[in-house]
Symmetry: C2
Subunit: 145 residues, 2 copies
Amino acid sequence: MYDQLKLENQLCFRLYTASRLVTQAYRPYFEPLGITYPQYLVLLILWEQDNLPVSDITSRLMLDTNTVTPLLQRMEREGLITRTRGTVDSRQRIVSLTPRGLAMQEQAKDIPSCISRKWDGKAPSVEEIFAMAKTLDSMIETLKQ
Amino acid sequence: MYDQLKLENQLCFRLYTASRLVTQAYRPYFEPLGITYPQYLVLLILWEQDNLPVSDITSRLMLDTNTVTPLLQRMEREGLITRTRGTVDSRQRIVSLTPRGLAMQEQAKDIPSCISRKWDGKAPSVEEIFAMAKTLDSMIETLKQ
DNA sequence: TAACTTTGCATCGTGAACGATATAAATCAA
DNA sequence: TTGATTTATATCGTTCACGATGCAAAGTTA
């Protein structure tokens, strides 16, 4: 039995599981809004800056168009965004919030604090989480190459 | 603009992205073996202990049967495992490694070290990764409830 | 032992991820 | 300006995740 092949020694499994469980924690808050977790990420981007080409969204999410295009098509179908053809470069699709997509920001603004309250008084501490965020950032930076 | 709704302030997005990128780092090593990342996790479990009911696998992976059953069916189709009916409790399906699935352990035993070499000399350090693993564990423990 | 509940697993539908491939517009080179 | 290449996005097929539902075996209760 190779120790390095034990499930509990795998960092990847911890990341995979923590990511899934955190997403699950968000789910009850997304359900009344009728959105999913990746759709929420797209909305976060558009709430920061509207009218972006698909390429800006793919690069910020570090996903490819084969994931993002169908995602945006579903969001368009749900009336959250529009996808208009670029005027300067007509290959581009400019993604814009609909009034409904914009208004959803108000309904979503308390979700992060609801989530962080989940581990009020429980482990891990805010300090640990902050340190982990830094480590994740450098890990992402290294792996992005 | 609500600060708490900025993409870069989202822990969830870091976890989600790091998890995806780490899985991507494994992919080249899985490809010659013809397996996927979740299939690798199942193999890790079976290499530790063979002949397990589906429920043991779901609980260790913290996944439900609606994810694991199709996964096991594909692995059976690929000749990595067998799924026999339990003798004591005939509702159970006992998952066992085939010779091929067992032999794959030898081919996989160097994958973890290949992955960890990815950030030799780069950030994050081994200490940071170790600290993060601890934080992830407590986060998983808290969210599991 | 008959009716009820629980347990273990399977099936179905939907929405991601992602490799591979396609297409049209833009850009570059000859 | 024509032909070649690159860029921006889309499509397709496969595998995961996961909510909802189904079903038969096991356990429980009356």
